[in-house]
Homo-oligomer: 232 residues x 2
Amino acid sequence: MAVVPLKALIYPSGESPISSPLADLDAFANAGLGWRRVKRGETAYLAGDKFNAIYGVRSGFFKVGNVAAMGREQVMGFFMRGEIFGLEGIGAGRYDGTATALEDSELAMLPFALMERMAQENPAMQRELHAILAREITRDHGIMMLLGSMTAEQRLAAFLLNLSRRFVRRGYSPSEFHLRMTREEIGSYLGLKLETVSRVLSLFQKKGLLGVQQKHISIVDIAGLESVYRQR
Amino acid sequence: MAVVPLKALIYPSGESPISSPLADLDAFANAGLGWRRVKRGETAYLAGDKFNAIYGVRSGFFKVGNVAAMGREQVMGFFMRGEIFGLEGIGAGRYDGTATALEDSELAMLPFALMERMAQENPAMQRELHAILAREITRDHGIMMLLGSMTAEQRLAAFLLNLSRRFVRRGYSPSEFHLRMTREEIGSYLGLKLETVSRVLSLFQKKGLLGVQQKHISIVDIAGLESVYRQR
DNA sequence: CGCAGTTTTGATTCATCTCAATTTGTGTGG
DNA sequence: CCACACAAATTGAGATGAATCAAAACTGCG
């Protein structure tokens, strides 16, 4: 049996944007694991769907959001190439959010039952799985921090710095990028209204921290952004 | 070897306030697992400590908080008997919060390496472990929802209803309880200032939803609270 | 190439914060 | 057991950051 590291299941070819202790594993290569194309605007799963797999982004960009009781959407996360989403489903056995592609994308499906079985037999795979879950917990705590105690400016600064770091790890420019999501989606993610997001972006531009051209962002002064984030 | 369900490690005697598919497992009983008394105001661990175990509350009440950069504390969670905390440590190998007892308490220490080893050999234990991690993710998402899109009144209502549900599961009254934490800690958890917490509590009282006597809360109108929570 | 969806910007309102004073409760030592 | 001191909670008044409502400008999709 061929030994296939997890990363190879997510990334098309040899590349490994994410550094993590990768498990040697074989079953995936054969097993029901599939790849799936999802076009912009289409969904990988809907809130309420039965949970069976987590997803790795091979290419493209996703949002996972939760349409709560009364129409208002809450975006729980954005995911780019090499990142994994769908973990919110594990608890209840159903996804509690809807995953929507923000651009034409490719997904690797990682059936959870299979992952569990493999983790059972392979300590490295187990570590990998726990790392994935732990990363999600850490990520969520960071967001709680943001939402619980930061101003609109700090939230936006943190958001942009976080995006920048993630882009850079994937080999893109840290300072020039294209937002795939609308102001409304950013706002939902950060607990702000779209007008506020727009205003703060304009403010940052006026302060000389950013260049903003609709969805094109260029970070002019990273240190400045960081100090906005830390201020107070 | 005696077969000991996980719950028995957390609860002193036979009782099982939490319903979950419990693993049959033995190693714990013998292994390095320990119990620990923590007095009110003392800590189970500090932010930055090396992560080695997660904790089950056998009795008492804990808060886990994160003193970010500039003095301002952010409370990430409150934990009562039968609940498990310390999971934030798994990701980085260090706890990123400080766990403080809000009353004299007893903790069960669950060494994580041991749990992983056991999960490796015992599918039921593995399921248990994943359930613990998944529950934390679900919990965090709920809090993100709160913080991202709810008013002060809705947050307080959700908080009280959540406490009530948790108390009831442990065999306490759903409508009469004693808050172990200060208004400031509640506020930090909910992304509000202590004065706001106090005001909203007073408002609820005036509306006839609650009786408030400092830390004694009696929920007079659960349905009313629920409708506050859902309103809009 | 036109139009719907998105973004920007302005004016105003409102919820929550901040600052401040008072009351109430709690733990400690005489 | 009482009294004192300190911490926690309540309440008020005013300031403020973000939301809301509204209009105009942009733009990229079909």
